[in-house]
Amino acid sequence: MAGGILKKINYVLKDLLTDKRENFRIFIFSVALSFVGLFFFCNMGYVKKHIRLLERLSNTVFITVENEDYTYSDIEKLTREYGTLHFVGHTGVMCDENVCEAYVYDKFLADTISYSFKKGKAIESDNQVIISKSLGKLYDIGDTVKVSGYDMAGTPIEKKKTVCGILDMDAVYYPTGKGNLIYDMLIVDLDDELYLADAIITTDNAFYGGDDNMGIFTLEPNDKYESDVLESLFENIGDVSDGNDVIGVNEEHLIYEKNQKKVFVIAGLIVGLSVFLGSIYISVIRRRRELGVLLLEGAGYTEALMLIKINGLLSAVLGSVVGETVSIILMKKGILDGYISLYYSLAVLLIIVLLYMGSTLIVGACWKREHIIDLIERDI
């Protein structure tokens, strides 16, 4: 059996050397197609990442610290501070011994929410606060917490209050790239009125990075709302700006660029694909007599088809490797924009192989209906 395989390998290798022009043509078209194909995928990957980064950056808070006393670790520490509950946005609430109810609304929905007490009782004075059960893991009835925010007139408030009640209500966790922010609820007494407020505390470090020398630090909130909150946290220690101000890139421009490139690349792909498939078709057609001879002399059909086509497949694979290598080099040097990924490279190679095998098998399937003698003797 090994001897049989060796004989066939020898036949294929001889084919590679003798049918040079045909194999070279397939090699060249494979180079071109794989070059354009890989660039297409990598460029799309690049643009996708670019847009994602843009989205992230547009929500990023940049803090330029003017006070030289603040360092990287100070900023990090600030974002980890549990002792302060910062609340923004509030709606009126009414509480009795057992439950607190609030009428809440946003752009789309108006609803009444009702929470029962897990522990404790309703607020009786303005130095008390009711918290949710998730905050209840950090604080218990009787604990003192520092609460800061804005009253209804927009005046900043910062006061120490005692926890008097824990509501049976879950917080909502918003994961960010580097840390987590918790949206939670608390009930505060403002101007003798009770208000249900969104509270934000940082748990893990939402701190992204920074440079002590330049005095610039970045935080990664999950959305604009969070970034507003964090801006208010830090505006007393430095200049705060969001990503859009710093980057100055807009998404529309990027999408336009992407579409423009896409048109050219897709056109190139269609042309390349047509030429590649056409080349395979011609090379397969040329070999019909050889197919007939192999069948006549004792080959099985699939065996014969593979024998006459495997050399072309080798040329196509080699061409693909060369084309992709050139594409990668140009992207690494920055001449072409592309996000290089091994998965894209493998995908392009697989596509080339499937195209080759597919087109060969399609032509082969048509030939299977032909008489062996006709394959050998009839002119195309």
Partner: protein
């Protein structure tokens, strides 16, 4: 006895719902060492008969025995094996692969013969080429050869793995008189060495030089001619 056809009928459609029956109730027997010519007008079914004998075509009805085994039950794989083992083919237009050299063309049957190893190729190919007086042409490209030379290479390919039967379908059809004689002489030599040769030809002169003649009549029946 190696080949026997009993009541063989071959029918096919011409693509326009019309049935064509080139072979109708054909009874045919070939013994080992026979040299047989099959003649008849063009299109009568001579090549069809040869294709059936060579396991290239299937019969519609009847029976075909090869070395006493009914070929009806053969799978396609088995037929491929039979073609390689028992038959050598010489076609009208030689059937060589144009972009390969003589050595590669002649070696094709050896590739599918599991008993022959790669190291034995050269010796067998050299012997086959010597038999057809083409030993000096081993590494020449077939495109450089004349019609007669190509046909001799075709014969070399047909005998390289020592099959029992040589099937020649109009082997001299595309040749001039001189080359025709050379080819017929080669086939006669093969027969003298014990090969069974079945030749299809419309050339009565050639048919007259062989041992047994069969003639197709217009009803698709094969009749042995008096020689």
């Amino acid at each position: 006895m190696i080949i026997e056809l009993k009541g063989v009928k071959k029918e096919y459609s011409d693509g326009k719902n019309k049935k064509i029956t080139p072979l109708n109730n054909v009874n045919f027997r070939v013994n080992k060492g026979d040299f047989i010519a099959i003649t008849g007008p063009s299109g009568i079914g001579k090549s069809t008969l040869l294709n059936i004998i060579g396991c290239i075509d299937k019969i519609t009805s009847g029976q075909y025995f090869l070395n006493s085994i009914n070929t009806d039950d053969y799978t396609e794989r088995e037929k491929s094996h039979v073609r390689n083992k028992y038959f050598g083919y010489v076609l009208q237009n030689n059937g060589l692969i144009p972009y390969r050299n003589v050595y590669d063309n002649v070696s094709v049957p050896l590739m599918f013969d599991k008993k022959i190893r790669k190291c034995e190729y050269k010796e067998k190919i050299e012997k086959a080429l010597e038999d057809v007086n083409m030993a000096d042409y081993m590494h020449r490209n077939v495109n450089e050869l004349s019609g007669g030379e190509k046909q001799r290479i075709s014969i070399a390919r047909a005998i390289v793995n020592d099959p029992e039967v040589i099937l020649a379908d109009e082997p001299t059809g595309a040749l001039d008189v001189d080359n025709k004689d050379i080819i017929v002489e080669q086939l006669c030599k093969l027969n003298e060495r014990g090969k069974t040769v079945i030749i299809v030809t419309h050339d009565l002169d050639i048919a007259g030089r062989v041992g047994v003649q069969y003639v197709f009549n217009h009803a698709g029946q094969l009749l042995q001619a008096d020689v």
